[in-house]
Symmetry: D2
Subunit: 376 residues, 4 copies
């Protein structure tokens, strides 16, 4: 099977997430990075491309889209890993030329952009994959499958949190600058950068959507324009309730995304920093530790896992699973086929929900935590 030719927008020398996407694309050997427009500054783009040994380096994503579309050996997919406000503009160029798009989250920096991007995807005949990478972890798949199979009964309560600590003090580094700048990030600070992951994870595992939320956002660090801590209460369709906490000012939390789901007959717990474990309590029985590829793990987890239990997989493998799922869908699409059964990746609609979540949080907080419908 020939590897999928991949281009990349963003992800230049000093970017974090671009390097992650490149490793993720490489792990299962289904992609080959061949082209890039790696920075909004043309010189940086060229320098970064050369540093990576790329042969086709472009000054900007527009040129890349148009020229690659004309090549016989042009890219079949593009990874967009820029700051949020560029996602829509960049994605549009590739979608309209029939190039599959793999895009980092959140979908866009504004709700109108998100809706236009949904339209652009619907108008195209290609795939759009959003890298809500935490849904790629095998034990997250396991949890989703267990909820769907009724292992904990009807869901009542969702507790999801995503605390970090790196913005506890003002940080003058590139990663911090754009994430705390409304023009590049959008109206959400922590809610956009990591709250969207938490929200997406809650919906992914439970199979539920929230209808309305009440949010209390704070900016604790002096001079910061966007929230760095957010408290959110959620009401899901069908009666389940949730709490969501995102924070970037919680010392002792590196990247502590964690979810707990409680239903009428049991509970599930998962933590991103120890991702190979899933705790399951059938009510009235001892808590059980289900491990990746271990006893008790399901097919849904096993198909996105590479190595035996006890040999930990991590963040990069979970991220790689999104790429490999995308690859399976792209390869099927070559023959006009839908993705094979079981293949699962976040879509543009998940992305829209994330931007609705951010928008609703900001709106609710501005109205003193009034309940705001998510269907904005």
């Amino acid at each position: 099977m020939e590897r999928i030719k991949l281009g990349m927008v963003g992800g230049g020398n000093d970017a974090f997430i671009g390097a992650v996407h490149r490793i993720a694309a490489r792990i299962d050997d289904k992609f080959e990075l061949v082209a890039g427009a790696l920075s909004s500054t043309p010189e940086k783009s060229v320098a970064s491309g050369e540093a990576l040994g790329l042969k086709r380096v472009y000054e900007d994503f527009k040129k890349m889209a148009s020229r690659e579309a004309r090549r016989k050996d042009g890219i079949e997919a593009v990874a967009i890993v820029t700051p949020n406000h560029v996602h829509y503009k960049a994605a549009r160029e590739f979608l309209k030329r029939g190039i599959h798009v793999i895009c980092d989250k959140p979908l866009t920096s504004t709700l109108p952009d998100a809706k236009k991007l949904v339209q652009a995807v619907e108008d195209s005949d290609v795939l759009f994959i959003l890298t809500h990478n935490y849904t790629g972890y095998p034990m997250v798949r396991q949890a989703k499958q267990m909820v769907a199979d009724g292992a904990i009964g009807r869901v009542r309560v969702v507790q999801v949190e995503y605390p970090q600590d790196w913005l506890t003090v003002d940080q003058d580094i590139k990663q911090a600058r754009w994430r705390t700048d409304p023009a590049q990030s959008g109206a959400g600070g922590s809610v956009g950068d990591i709250g969207t992951h938490a929200y997406n994870l809650a919906c992914f595992i439970t199979g539920l959507e929230a209808e309305t939320l009440s949010a209390d956002l704070q900016s604790f660090v002096s001079g910061r324009q966007l929230d760095d801590n957010a408290h959110v209460m959620l009401r899901f369709e069908g009666g389940a309730r949730g709490m969501l906490w995102s924070s970037q000012v919680a010392p002792g939390n590196e990247n502590a995304l964690r979810i707990r789901v409680y239903g009428e007959t049991g509970g599930l717990e998962w933590a991103q920093e120890d991702p190979n474990y899933l705790w399951h309590t059938p009510f009235g029985q001892p808590k059980r530790l289900i491990t990746r590829n271990g006893s008790g793990a399901s097919v849904a987890a096993g198909r996105v896992s590479r190595i035996p239990p006890g040999h930990p997989e991590g963040y990069l493998e979970g991220f790689a699973n999104i790429y490999s799922e995308a690859a399976e869908a792209i390869i099927a699409a070559r023959d006009g086929q839908p993705a094979p059964e079981g293949v699962l990746y976040p879509t543009v609609y998940d992305g829209l929900k994330g931007v609705q979540f951010v928008t609703a949080c900001v709106k609710s907080s501005a109205r003193n935590a009034a309940w705001i419908d998510l269907d904005l």
Copy 2:
């Protein structure tokens, strides 16, 4: 030093918390249980008293108060361990007769009762100790001291939760019946029974009071009259914010009271089920595990600890600490002295705050999670 003669109201044969109070009073050998009115049913009271080998058994607390007050060797203190709605009526009888009162939480089942009880205490010249027992744990003392000493800087965020699972299904046992009956428990279900503990713990450790809250209460089990799950957002004086979750329908949680406090320069984490550990992260340094009586533990923790590190103390020892603090205060009071420096126990004012918390939660939830001031 002569042991303090203690009476008990409530705590008959099939009660849970009465037995706990008795062991707690015994551990440090500062009390001697000599009298009791152990049930609201006179026959049960007598039978329970005999089973305990008590010599002075009364049919009801009124008789006990009046007769003990007249004895030369009458009780010096009384423990009230009845369902909530009896607390005020019982305490009043002893307070007015100059007998110190040790009372289980929450203070009362209604806010008016709570205020009357505050008045009754102020009108008396005796001590009133509320058994918010979790403040007796050495590492909780350690946490409070560290916050006061500035170990984590000005507090920004408080995450406190108290999930249990025993009411996941309808339970027809005594412990469940009165706790889910508004007439005996008051207007709060989980918020009254365990949410008050969580709220008290947050205030105790941070030294802060909440000004206002927004609460979303649920009763998930069909037919249940009181909340069995509660989501609460808190705003503390001085700008700190918090989330509080109490639940009795979260399978896999036995008694999982847990608190995390984040300040400008560090974070603290403590969990009741593993109470001998306190996690401290000074921002920018590795997380540290402070253990009871171990390296890094302070005098505040050491003075309420009995045995060396690595020899775990538990719930009963933490509870006993409240009794032993009470004993020190009572003994000092014999000579008209204030409690010795460092002695610390929850008071009737902490109890009032707890009832205000419950009342505010119920009121807020009834108004769709509107913000309600706690100064009710």
Copy 3:
């Protein structure tokens, strides 16, 4: 039921274990401490007795034994909590006068003394209880019951360890002095003080006895006369094998007794510092967390547990269980009855095995870790 009148030998003002025994005896209210010879120095004995409010204070244990035996209200049992070399001499005095003996471990400081003590017990008509207190933990009882019930199949491998760190450097405190003095402790250092606990625990849970061992003992701290670290290989009857590690020079270990038992069909893990948890893996199934009094806990654990799951019990409660088991046996003995079914406590024979273990370790190490039979 009248409380058992208890005397105490040793356990004066600055002793650790004496205070533990007193609390343990008090927790379940079955004993009343009425007499003591609390130190080998008569003045200290008197001063310590007064500090405790004891009415009958003796200058030495001989006087206490003879005088108490003559009183109508004399002690029914005595707790011996002296350094090891006094155990035999003290126990003898009480045994021959028909007073039940509760004795700290190890049984004696020498093997001949141990054998004489066995004889003395056999010659008496009273009970001898050795406080191998770790066998009092509910989850240790649970583990023993599960092995007996075949939950892990025939035992193959036992891994038991007991590391501490308090003797990492030379300590000039009372607790350290006698424990590192061969004249008071016997020939074993860490193997006697804590290795015996580990060995006893392994035998208690598995129901097996070791036949032979190979030991490599070290004294890492300069000038120390007894071992402070010991590596032991064990061969049990029936083919099971084990490793035992005891150490008092392992920084980061406070009191980290831990055991893992593996059989043909499953495994069990328990750690003293987190004593409310027992891990059980049925081979081919997920690991399960059995909690004290929680789902999955057995009657054997429940009968020595006081409070609901999630309310941690600790070291003192585990110790108290030995006292309460002793009390049940003593009360039955008043009527010439055997202890009720299920009552379990370490005996003089367990004590002899412990001294044989220490003796074999020292002998083996002196012979370059040659295999030494335990049946010495």
Copy 4:
């Protein structure tokens, strides 16, 4: 920088470790797999090669070595991932033709083979890298650096263990068959397959070599020819002592390699299944949790880590580090340079020590756990 052309011997369709090597070689994009002799059965070799999309597939490693050596674009390095008994024969072919060898562990199935392989490497002018992959984990590097820097003082005690459970019952699968066959594995069962990893890790972190050992090996599963459980006592140069346990019959242990090192002033603990954490206790201070790339992590850990703290790296990244270290050395060797400072990988001498360890274990056990020098 051009990628290193890599060939592979072994690692056909149903092999576990071959796939791991391929991913590991790919993660950092420094190798390109171009040739293979993937099975000892020529047809399987061809089929496996085709399945991987390899263009140069050989029937056996001899042909591969001779033909690749003659090509201008021939492989620069070969990965040998066969059962143990083939390592020497295969490596020899490539070494003598100037092709760098990356070889799985243990080095060989016999001690004579190991010595011949050392000679072959010394006679060649190429590099030999042994994939003791656990030394590639960042926190293992951190631990080694800390010991070297004196963070725990002079080492006294090493506790290392490597339990698994997959051979608890007889397994008729390829992975189990060759590992339990002396002709393919060598004289060691668990000691060869995983004990060598544990031993290597102990030496790597402490910087010490063991001088002598005493081993008690068992085969618990009926009919098994090689040990499936091993108890080993170690004596290191300079006086440190250790215990090593390897087992493949310990239910509940998936791949639980774990090491604890204690010195005169502190302790370190690391567990493979949670590899992003390293526990450090400076004696007399609280235990600290050092995290990969987090506060407290050193340059030694950071240079083999890709992503921020809290984003877990796992087994494959640790394995990839060995490949990337190899790549740096190979690239330097192109110019006749030594590997850059800091580059670290296991060598043929580490491999020899591993085979000596296995040989000594088997010999010791056959002599009833007599002490055997490792310098065989």
